[in-house]
Symmetry: C2
Subunit: 479 residues, 2 copies
């Protein structure tokens, strides 16, 4: 097995006749759907987190798989990196272009190709966003459950193995993608999986591309599982005396088989900032927001059982949001927790950490993480998809204060190490991108990382697909 | 990307000093846990279906991961093929040794390493069988749902991406394996995944090894998801006027969100042979066997809703097996359908086909398949995991009648083509092994097959891990 990737050298765009020829050819072919405008290029690199902004040399907007093939063939012929792009809502620098190259923006690929209501599946192009898809599906009584908060594109969600608040019941993109169409780094088009619910036919290429973050090819079609819109939905919030009690309630809920659709933790700091930002007047203690899906009778039964569990752990009273608009307000407030935290800490930089651990270790991991931040004198707030053991602690810090930056780096190292020591992962749903490459060896071990490198080498031997992501490079390999 | 595998030539064991030296070294190291006994070798090759029996040169019985590493290193050093082995219950010649080599029988690796009740997971060695695991878990109130009928080993079930009657609710091995330990073809040991419920950290190696049928490495530990034993279980059978009506009832059940735990079709021919074999006195018409899991109240509600759907399609009356022993009898009868079919057709050979299609196409696919068999004058019977769109039509034929053999080959070709035309797969759960390699190109296309070959080449460049399975070889590559 190849132990390391030896990519072909890629020169600076300004200095490389190949790169310049590639851009000229794309310009000639795509006209107004090709741009080197600096503002647009910067918008197509990382804009959301403290990773720097590394714009591509150009952005191109294909409208069909065939156009993606043309772009990929041109780039491959000129040894030009390609960065597939959805909505740019990823959080770890996934869309940065550290070696320049061409950003392939799929946002014009917006067709819902086929809805198969009887089979509960849909085939879409990658630029369709999850909200657009659910708008489209509503009249058919169907919905697509994966909800990361941001209105991300389905292509990007597949590429990052995205999840969110509904994953505890419906799974992540890993469980909800049946099939893919992918343009390989040399321009060949493959189809992985099928519309059958299961298959034992050979290597699972679908799951290889889900979560590959654009490093193995460009996803151009996605077949998703759908679900019927539940007959009854009820949601509510339940205060707890401590994060530990809230986590224990979560464990008991999952263990007793209650098919909870969402179970979200907010610590007291998060509740305070959410109250201030969204004016929802929650009691300012650790809190679980929960939602149940089912028939009227089963939803009532689930809620009653959850209420008993909460009461047994000193939680409650459980307050219901029975009206759809109140539910929407509650979940919007939850999704806005990140922005609420920013508003509550003016002038401070923040970002969301993303470790995920076995749920038995969740309370300890959250509490140790909170104490760690306190010990370095940095404010923080935590929300979590606790049914999955996944939580996001946000530190709020002064990015211009070198000591705080160093302290945050140390905090992130300890957080990842803590999650791994508890049998977990450095990222539950945000992905590796650039930001977490340094944790890959610790999480997987050098030999498993070697298998990943061998696969990358086998599928993208020139290292042209989103280079500089997921797999830590040896220094000097590019530029 | 490498388009084809160019394996190192492997000579005949008798003629190869390398092979002989390998066997001698294993004999010296493993003593009584190594054998070249002909009967044992034949038992360790395919024994169940009409694929021939191709025994390995030797069988070795490791007890630890470290011993597997020793075996793999020895075999790799001597260019000797390795065939990982669980219980030998696979159905497509997966454990045959077409190029000879060493069968690595994992049946002595039987430790349940850790049960994490709060996290609903368990870590096991590959030789633990599913029934042994469920015995072990019962007192903790937990169970592992995947149930292929045979008492297969967990390692083999992971290697073949196995499923069975509970998959409609609980998923297949694809959804129920969290992490693996794998010995690579060069003897290095990797760990894939973690005990976290989800992760977005790099390429999904866990899913790459699930379903790889021993062609990429030897699975030596498996972390599985568990479930709480349901408070209430109810099961029963419901006759229908036609296969079509039973399939329509299945579609409506799934679509309306009833979380049915099992929903199994038996056609009239299967019911007749099951009645004769298991003496359960079912009405001899197409039949759905169903099971519901939940609380007392939710199980009653599910059953009532299913009953309404069945009645609306001319089915019923729905008969309950309320006592646990009656339920067990019912499901044992279902699992014995294969043997019941053999008993009903004395002197005839049979095997189970395994296509899987979107459920909207299931009724048509089953009926066309039945008519196809009738048209070539061969008896058949069908059972199916209809909630997944997966069915097993068993032909009964005279293996000594050359015309019937040819007719069956044609039937199998048409069956696979029919499933693919309906957007399905040639195998829902049995896997490719040797028997279905000829359908791989039609199912995946040459380019996707090329990606699979490139991955095999990257991880097993010498083609020593279970060669001659999954990926069709060019003629003359081995022996």
């Amino acid at each position: 097995m190849a132990a390391t990737i030896q990519p072909a050298p890629v020169e600076d765009a300004d200095a490389s006749p190949g790169r310049a020829a590639c851009l000229a050819a794309l310009q000639a072919r795509f006209g107004a759907r090709f741009t080197v405008n600096e503002t647009i290029r910067e918008q197509h690199a990382n804009t959301l987190t403290w990773q720097g902004n590394q714009p591509p040399d150009a952005v191109v907007f294909p409208e069909t798989t065939e156009e993606v093939v043309e772009i990929v063939r041109l780039c491959a012929a000129h040894h030009t990196p390609m960065i597939p792009y959805g909505t740019g809502t990823s959080l770890e620098g996934h869309v940065n272009a550290p070696f320049g190259g061409v950003c392939i923006d799929t946002s014009r690929m917006k067709a819902v190709i086929a809805v198969h209501a009887e089979d509960l599946d849909v085939v879409v192009e990658p630029g369709v966003t999850r909200k657009e898809l659910n708008e489209y599906l509503r009249d058919a009584g169907l919905f697509f459950p994966i909800d990361p908060g941001a209105d991300a594109s389905i292509g990007g969600m597949a590429a990052t193995r995205c999840s969110g608040t509904n994953a505890v019941r419906y799974g992540t993109m890993r469980e909800n993608v049946l099939a893919l169409e992918v343009v390989l780094p040399d321009g060949r088009v493959i189809h992985t999986g099928s519309r059958a619910k299961k298959s034992a036919a050979g290597y699972d290429l679908t799951h290889l591309f889900i979560g590959s973050e654009g490093t193995l090819g460009v996803i151009t079609k996605i077949t998703l599982r759908l679900h019927g819109i539940p007959e009854a939905i009820s949601a509510g919030c339940c205060p707890f005396p401590s994060v530990h009690a809230a986590c224990d309630a979560t464990i008991q809920t999952i263990q007793s088989g209650i098919p909870v659709a969402r179970i979200e933790l907010l610590d007291a700091a998060s509740v305070r900032s959410v109250n201030a930002y969204s004016k929802i007047g929650l009691p300012e203690t650790p809190m679980l927001l929960v939602e149940f899906h089912g028939t009227d009778a089963s939803v009532q039964e689930q809620a009653a059982r959850f209420g008993e569990i909460a009461e047994g752990l000193g939680g409650g009273p459980f307050e219901w949001a029975t009206r759809a608009e109140d539910r929407t307000r509650l979940w919007q407030a939850r999704h806005d927790a990140y922005w609420a935290g920013r508003a509550a800490n003016p002038g401070m930089l923040t970002f969301a950490t993303d470790v995920c651990v076995p749920i038995s270790r969740l309370a300890d991991c959250v509490e140790e993480t909170t104490r760690d931040l306190e010990s370095i004198g940095i404010a923080g707030a935590t929300v979590g998809h606790v049914g999955d053991g996944n939580f996001h602690t946000q530190p709020f810090f002064d990015v211009n204060d070198a000591a705080q930056r160093v302290a945050i780096e140390g905090f992130l190292e300890r957080l990842a190490a803590r999650a791994l020591a508890y049998g977990g992962t450095c990222t539950g749903e945000h992905g590796i991108g650039q930001g977490k490459m340094k944790f890959m060896a610790a999480e997987h071990g050098e030999d498993a990382l070697g298998v990943m490198r061998a696969i990358k080498q086998a599928i993208d031997p020139e290292n042209l697909m989103n280079p500089g992501k997921i797999l830590p490079q040896r220094a000097g390999n590019m530029r």
